[in-house]
Symmetry: D2
Subunit: 93 residues, 4 copies
């Protein structure tokens, strides 16, 4: 059980939509669509993935990190460090 | 014919790999994998898409924009404006 | 007292360095330096500011959010929502 | 003479404003302001710097790159490579 488990169907639906969007990108390349239109579409996919990340992270803080903090001690510090590292990767990617 | 046309197979291969990665993300959610591991994987997909965008943009400048600039006049200005707008969307997404 | 308070001198030093870097950017423009060199320098400043943000956020999770979570209840939910919103702004800027 | 030269005063004004914003950030830290409020302000500074970058890049494409493209040959390729590298740094920072 993780933070996102209760919302699993929602995340699966969004990821399937992203998968379809990426397939659409390949089709645009296949059909020699205009570069700028492909770029616009890539930005849309990136934003959709970012929204998935931000959602997962929010659930992670609300559940996994909150639980570790309730227990306190070293495990709480570890969980915050892990979350901060994930946030840094997200911000820098 | 667009800037990326000569490299079409390469772009198709990369997009198919991204599609597989997104399917992998859905599988991770399906199998209740740990949130942070999913986030790490989403960052990898985002970076792969970003690399596709930067490649397409480079080809676009080298070919479509260069051609418009060789012709000069209004069309050149239009092409630069369009490219700058695409860059802004990329930077902000 | 906030999360970053114990590291206040460190943050002040980093922000003063960023201020100097921004002044350096203005000097580059003033002296008609090459655009690409200015852009490289702007990226360095942006990364320095990002590092400040990620540091502040880490301290915020470790202290302010952790405290609210120890208390539990509505205030904990509020603090996570607030942190998630800040992360989203960070990721999207 | 570079692309941004004709707009120099505008860029200097914007950079001086950014400098003031960074000084404001230091003051917020000095006065122990709330972490989240500082983070919001850092995002605003980052966006202002990004807008400066996008402006400089647009001018660079319009002038320096356009000129090199009019000349054609190796120098044009070099200029596009240099611009693409700067865009990549911008997107990844």
């Amino acid at each position: 059980m993780h933070g996102y488990t209760q919302d699993k169907e929602n995340y699966l639906k969004r990821l399937r939509r992203v998968e379809g969007q990426v397939r659409g990108l390949a089709r645009m390349v296949e059909e020699d669509k205009y570069c700028i239109d492909i770029l616009t579409q890539v930005s849309a996919v990136t934003r959709a993935l970012q929204a998935v990340s931000l959602g997962l992270l929010d659930e992670h803080l609300k559940h996994c990190v909150a639980e570790a903090m309730a227990e306190g001690g070293e495990r709480a510090d570890e969980k915050v460090k892990e979350a901060s590292d994930a946030i840094a990767r997200l911000v820098r990617s």
